[in-house]
Structure formats: C-alpha cells, structure tokens
Amino acid sequence: MKPAPLTCHSPTTLDEAVRLLHDLGPEAKVIAGGQSLVPVLNMRLATPAHLVDITGLPGLDEIRVSAEAVEVGALVTHRRLEQDDAAHAALPLLRQALVNVAHPAIRNRGTTVGSLAHADPNGEMPMILALTGGSVTAASVRGERTITASELFVGPMETVLEPDEILVSARFGRFAEGTRTAFTELTRRSGDYALAGAALALQVSDGQLRTARMGFVSVTELPDALDLTELVAGRPASTSADIAEAVVERVTEHIAPESDIHATADYRRHLTGVLARRLLTELTADIPARGAA
C-alpha cells in the first residue's frame, strides 16, 4: 500500500500548472485534496509518473454567490462550502447534500470540484451539479472553456476533460423563486456511499406545483437529473400523494441500479422509489390544501 514511484510538482501559477500538464502528457494527474486519488495510488490501481499539486495556485479558493449561481473554486473543500452561509442562503441544496459527503475528516480535505472531476455516480456532488443545471470551467494551455454538467459526465468516473486540463471552478445554478429542495440517502453506515440517494428541486407557487427535477446517487450510470415537471405542473401541492405513484414509476424507469456486495439492483430500485416518494412528501407536507385556512 505504497504508491509506485512518482514525481510531485508544485506549480505556483495556473499558467505554470497547465504548462506542466501539457508537457508531462497523460502520465500526469492533478491532485488537490487527494481523498479519492491517494487511496488509488497507494493500492497501485493507478501509477501516474507525475502529480501536479494545485493547492499552491492562487485564486482558486473562492466561493462567489451571484444572482444566478454559486461559483466554487477548485481548492474549496467540501467542508468550507458546507459551512458557507452565503452559499447556503443562495442554494440550500448544497449544504443539504454536502453533509452527506463521507465524514467531516474527509470533507475537511476533499474538494468539491475534485469530486466533480472524479465523476463518481456514487458521489453526491456530481449529481448536484447536474440537478442545478451547473457547469464547470476547465483551463489548459489552450485557454479556458466552460462545460455544462450534461456535457461533462460521459461515463462512470469518466468526463470529457482532456488529460492536460485542470478544473478551476464549478458553477452550481440557483433555482427559480419558490423552489424547495431536499436531499436524502440511505447508507449502510454513516458517511458511506449511499445504497441509493435522491434530491428533489420542486417549484411551488400559490399552492400549486410548477416544476420538478430529481437527481440520484448510486443508481444511475451518469450523474444526471430527471425532469418531472410534466407529472407535477399545475397540480395542487396537497395532492402530491396522488402523483407520487407516477413519480415513482418514472423514477424507477429512469434509474439503472446495479447489484454489488452491498445491495441488489432490485433493492436499490425499490429504495429509490421510497426515497422519491419521501422527498415529495417532505417538500409538500407543510403546504395547506387550497382553500384551507
């Protein structure tokens, strides 16, 4: 459990970092928090000849809240984002999800943008990027480019990023006014990867459901979001129980869980349906029926 020989580079500017990545080629990997990469290195499941440590780069540790989005720099840890009150006020879903990312010790070092680059469909934050209609910015010697969540993820732990690109920031889109969000997952132990998880963004106005988007953890091939608006639009919130069946049906059609040593695909499908129903109930329980006092 010791990594194979490698050289660690510690650039001090972004230009230097992208130049290194360009020159070193595919044998180089970017490292920031290292919470996913270091175990892989120690088990020699990956043996890159070079690591480019970006933790010394200036300007990548900021959280910016705008009217449209919460923008998160590449060096912002899960824990910092989780505890950022402005980000929470702008997009409560971030904290709702982040408290489920592993344990505090891991969140203290792991970066949110790093988890997006890792693109694990069992991770919470890639799904959140998709659910918020977010995007990321990648830098290379060719300059910067913006990649939307739906373009970014192309397979389990697979993105469209080029080997010489660094993700410098992520942009989580804010929801329209009146949007309520909730996140839930079931893990075997606290902080484990979820057996299944789901988040719901439900727009409500005047006691009526308007739009709905749901994202999933551990039960889809790619981090993505399912638009449920056509099932809910125009329905009174108080009738959410009536539409739950249709939502669960759509959800179980959409997901593609797999069996592993922790749970069967059947169980995960069942569980996701339960979680979807619970999210819908949670986000509509306090809305009075039309005409009620």
Binding site: M1, K2, P3, A4, P5, P39, M43, R44, L186, R188, R189, S190, G191, D192, Y193, L195, I261, H262, A263, T264, D266, Y267, H270, L271, V274
Partner: protein
Amino acid sequence: MTTRMFGQRIKRREDPRLVTGNGRYVDDLGTGALEAAFVRSPHAHARILDIDVSGALDVPGVVAVWTYEDLVGKLAEPLPMLLPHPAIEAPVTGHVLAKDEVNHVGEAIVMVIADDRYLAEDAASRIEVEYEFRDAVVGIEAARDGAALVHEEAPGNIAAHLVQEVGDAPGRIASAAHVLELDLDIERSASMPMEGKGVLARWNREDGSLRVHSSTQTSTGVRAALAARLDLPLNKVDVITPDVGGGFGVKINHPWPEELALGAAAKVLEREVKWTEDRREHFISSAHERQQLQRVRVGFDDDGRIAGLDVQFWHDNGAYLPYGVIVPLNTSTHILGPYDLPDYRVEYYSLYTNTVIVTPYRGAGRPQAAYLMERTMDAVADYLGRDRTEVRRRNFVREFPHPIGLTMQDGREGIYDSGDYDTSLDKLKALVGWDDFADYRREAEAAGRRVGLGIGCYVESTGAGPYEGGHIEIETTGRVNVATGLTSQGQAHQTVLAQIVADELGVPIEMVSVTTGDTRKMGYSVGTWGSRGAVMSGNAVHLTAKKVKQKALAVAGRSLEVDPADLEIVDGIVRVKGDPKAQMPLAMVSVLSNPLRYAFDDTARAATQFAGKQDETKPPIAESDKPGLEDSDFYSPVRSTFASGMHAAIVETDPETADIRILRYCVVHDCGPMINPMVVEGQVHGGVAQGVGGALYEKMAYDSSGQLLNASFMDFLMPFAAEVPEIETDHLETPSPLNPLGIKGAGEAGTIPVSAVIASAVEDAEGFPITRMPISPPELWELRRRHDAGEWPSLRRG
C-alpha cells in the same frame, strides 16, 4: 487506612499516553531498519510452476529476495500445528513462504527486503509467478460437497470431526412432546485491530542474539518458536511486545510466517529488518472467524423444558489449521449456555476451504454457540406461544458446581463454578423494561413504526490455564515493579494489575508500574486470549504480592524488633498495628533486604556491614532467603471459571426501506467481583460494538473463485461510533470459588450474544424467523418479499 483499590473506578493509567499519541508501536521503532514486503498469491488455489525474481533484483535498494528455496533447516518445515487435538484427522499447516502451491489469496510467496517499504513494493511488483490453477473451494457447501479438494490429504475437505455426547439426546428427542428442527447460518467476520501485525527483528552480531518486537498476543510463544525454527538457544532470543493497537484474537496464532521470515532475515543479513502489515494484507493474510452452518434438533415439553438437544454444525476453518480446533470446540462446548440440558449431543466437522485461515476472534466460537442456542430458545418459545424469558428460565442451571460432561479447550471437563441466572434475568428484564414492551410496541405501531425486542444469554469459560506468572520487585526508592508475561493489546493491565498489587502491598498505586509481554522480564507465560488476562495474571500478581509482603514484614520485623504478624503496611509505610510511631518506609525495608558491602548512596549506607548491630552467628542472607524485596509466583487454575451474561435489545425496522436501527441495548454482566467497573464496562462496550458489527454489518465477501471482494475499510463495514448504540449496563458479582480473587474473565463477554440478540429482535419486529446473520437492510427486504410471496414462514405469534 488506604482506600482499597480493588473495585474502584479509577481511570486507565494507560490512556494519557495513548490518547495523546505517545504510544510506541512496532512501526514507531527501528528507524532506519530495512523493510520487507511480500508477494502474495492473487489466486485462491494454484500450483506454483515458476517464480521469476530477476526483475526485482535490479531495483535499487533491494537487499534480499527470498522464496521457499531460500529457507534453510527447520525454517523450511511446515508451520507448527499449535494445538494438537484427537479430533484432528488431517492436520495441514502452511509454510513460511509458499511451497509448490498456494491455498488462499494472500498467501506469502516471496519476501523482498529493501531500504524501505516503497522500494520493497516496487521490487515485489516486478516479480512474476507462473501458476497452474486448481478449482477453488469457497464456502461451507462447496467444502462439504467435497467435489474439489483443498488438500489431497484431507478427503471431503475434513480437517477435524468430533462428537461429544452426554445423556441420550436422540432418545429423549424421540420421546419428547414436541420437536423442532432449525437450520442456521452465521457469516465470517474478523478482528480488525487498528494496528495490524508488525515485526521488527534485530540480530546482535557480537553476542549472537536475536531481539524481536512483535505485536503478538504471546511473546513467550513467539520466542520459543523463533528459537526452535532458527535453531538458536532460547537465552539468545527475546521477544518484546511494545504498545499494541488491538488484537481481539487475530494475533494469538503464532508464529506468523512473517515473524519467522524476518527473524531469519535479520540473522542472515545482520541488519535490523521491519515489516508492518498493511490493511489489505491484514484482510487477505491474517485470519478471520465465525462462519458456520448449524443444524439443530430439539425436543421439549409443553412448558418449554428442553428434553434433548442434538446439534450438528460445519465450521469453515480456511486453508490451514495452525490453531487446531479451538474455535469449533468452543462452539460445541458453549452451546448449553446457562441451561441445564443433561441430554445433549454435538457433532461438528471442521472443513478446509481456499480462504484465509480461521483462528479465534473475540468470543472464539462462543458467539456461534450463543446464536445457535438462543435462536433455538426463541423458536421453542414461539412454538409454544410462551414468553421467551419464561422458556429460558424454565431451563436455567440453579445448582453449582454444575458439571456439563464436556471436555473444554483446556482438556478438562467444563464445570460451571458459580452464577445466578435467575437474578441476571430479573435484572435484564427490569433494565430493558421487558414486561412493558407490549405497550411500547402498540404505541409505536400506532405511529406507523415497527419495533422488536430481542434477548440473548450466554456463559463463557474464562481464565483457562495452564498458568500465568507475576514478578515483583520493590526498589530501594519504594517503587514497585510488577511484571507479568502475558501481553497487552491496549487493555488495562497497567491499571488493574497495579490496583491488585497496591492493595496487597499497601502502597499508593502511583508507586506501582507494570510491564507486560517482555520475555526479558518474565520468561514464562502463555498469552493473552480467552478472557484470561485479569483472572490469570491478576491472581498471579496477587499471589506474588503476598509473598513479597511477607518478606517485607519479616525484614522490617527484624529491624523494628517486633513480630512480623504485628506489622501492617499502609501508604508505603510498614508500621506496628496500633502503634504508628514504630514504623519504617517500605523503601527502607527494601534497602535492608539487600545486605551491602558498598554504600553507593546515603540510602544504601543503611544496609552496609557496619551500619548496625548484626547477629554474627548467622549469615547475612538466611539459607532459604534471597536478597532484595523481590519474588515471583504463578497462578495455575484447576479449570476455567464461567462468567455469564444476558443482553436485550430493542430494534426498529423501517417498514419501507428495511433499514435496521438499534434503539436500545442493555447488558447484564457477571464476571464476579470487578477489579475496576469502568474497565469492565469498557470491555463490554467494545465487545458489544464488535458484536453489532457481526450482527448488522460485517461479512467477508468471497466470490466463488476465492477473491475477497471487500478487502478494505470502504467495503468491509466495520461499524463507526455512530452505528454503536448507547449501551446500558447492570452488573451482578457472583464470586468464583476457583481463584483467590474470586474473579472471572470479561474480555469477550460483550461480543458473544449480540448476533443472537439482534436476530431475536429483528425477528420479533418482522414476525418471521431470522436464521442467517448478519442481516442487512437489502437482505431483510428480500426476506419480506419471500415472506409476502409465501416462500418464508411466519412466526406463530405473528
């Protein structure tokens, strides 16, 4: 009068050092030592056709690369069969490095020694081994089937087969009013200490001696094995256990291949060599436990009195049998629990599989026994529609000593020495609120919640022999140095042994220091296992302290010119009872106990030849006496003492997700008089935590080819603190008549009944039988589906 230390909740003296990161473990020692890495088999069953190490030899910093061919003399022989037993039909043990074949993933094939572990692993990764694959035998069914064999010399994969029988169980069952049959299944788990195995070996070229630091549970055992296998005089080998980060059984089997390999390498290379097991190695090459398939036939009357119990079980012992049949033997001899069952028959097969060896893990076969018996008791109660505690009570042992007619792991008959199971059950029912549970359940059900109540009882033979020793010397400063040979893996030896000695010698506990597991201090010892540390070494240091005290009183009596019988020791001062002015510090007694020629300091002057008047007719040291306030003694019990306990739990199962939560966990525990109740509770808490792991989370996920799919802490689900419920405890203190302190062992107690208790509670919540443990939410959900489809029975009580 000094407060009696025995029974006090004093804080562990180990903790300030350990919790501030000042512990010193094997890997903290030997800075600059060479380091070893091992090439381990990636296949479960194969013949080794060729090993090409040439690629490794070019790696800079590589010092040695050893295969089986490099092992000389007795080092090349099979590893010892540590515990011979007549039940063993085909004893097969492995080698230090694999010879011709591998029988489980993780078996060591090549040792690489280099300047550091990184280089050693770099070199190891370049070694190529050519294999010819064999069919892997994985799981008890495959082993029992016997179509493929692990070892040619073990037909049917049978390592051992044993029948023990008292009375006439089959006959009594045949004539019983009711008969039930149960098939039960319990999975593999493992000890998983925080620190894995570790070895540091240093050869002293000048005097031809070997010093080995090991995280072993028996330093004397390792020392004897090293001397024998390396052909060294025993007095040229010492084994020391520094701080050890947990053992829980996995470090008792010995010698480890790595202990012998590193000892030999240090000698040949004349260098200090270290190996620190990493977690993946620990998963695939140390040891596991627990897996059994069990079949029960039980006959009983209308009141639930058991007429006869006939048990068969099949035990998976993994690829080799170095630790003999201790685990299945313990299962077979602990099934009776607190129950008086004069008609009992047990038969077991211990089977080879192409998986990691199975050696004791906290409980060592007893959790399986409690699981079998308690599942049976629940089934009987359910069948009769009676309360589960009532049926248990109907069968309790009430007279002691109670011989059970079975031969235990120490080769002696099991005789329950004392206990009070009725009171234990009363206490448990009160603690958990047994009789109020029906109301609680109704309220929960009204709120859409599903809850269940479970119970499990057990007895545990503890404090097995043959012996342990104590050595005590009182320095001329008054400091009391205590040594015992068994090792500590983080237990409270330095606290509880000091409590015992402080009481007997009448000294403040601050003056007492305790050394464990260092063959330089105490060469005779068995080891730390089987809930024996306190019973064995506790009584040994107690007996030793008595001897040293007698000597101190004799020396002081001569000096004070009083009858030693009129003396007492209080707060480190020897004084005449009733006349506190006639006194002398114990430190001075120590000075006087050692007649001196040379006064190396002012204190010593008191013991020199012209310091006082002497009886010139006698030698300075009497014929049967020895200089110094120093002595040793040994405690050797005639048989094991039986601790006991009863646990209850309330669980909640989610009606939709089948998630299982433990709402309450209650323990009533009887280990006799407690030396330190806080330490006992700590043992119980840790034990329950490991039990919860075995009941709800942990299993070894072997695939059919013998690959362990969850060999990391990401996928092997050891419970975190958040998964362990608050544990409510109550105690009963039934003294043992077998030892001077009247104490019984406590180390394994918390673990033993947990799978039984949780199965009982989940079953109670769900209304259908739980026969396979551990149980996860997906597995419970699957059982619900089968139950709903009519493929899985209901409990009679619904």
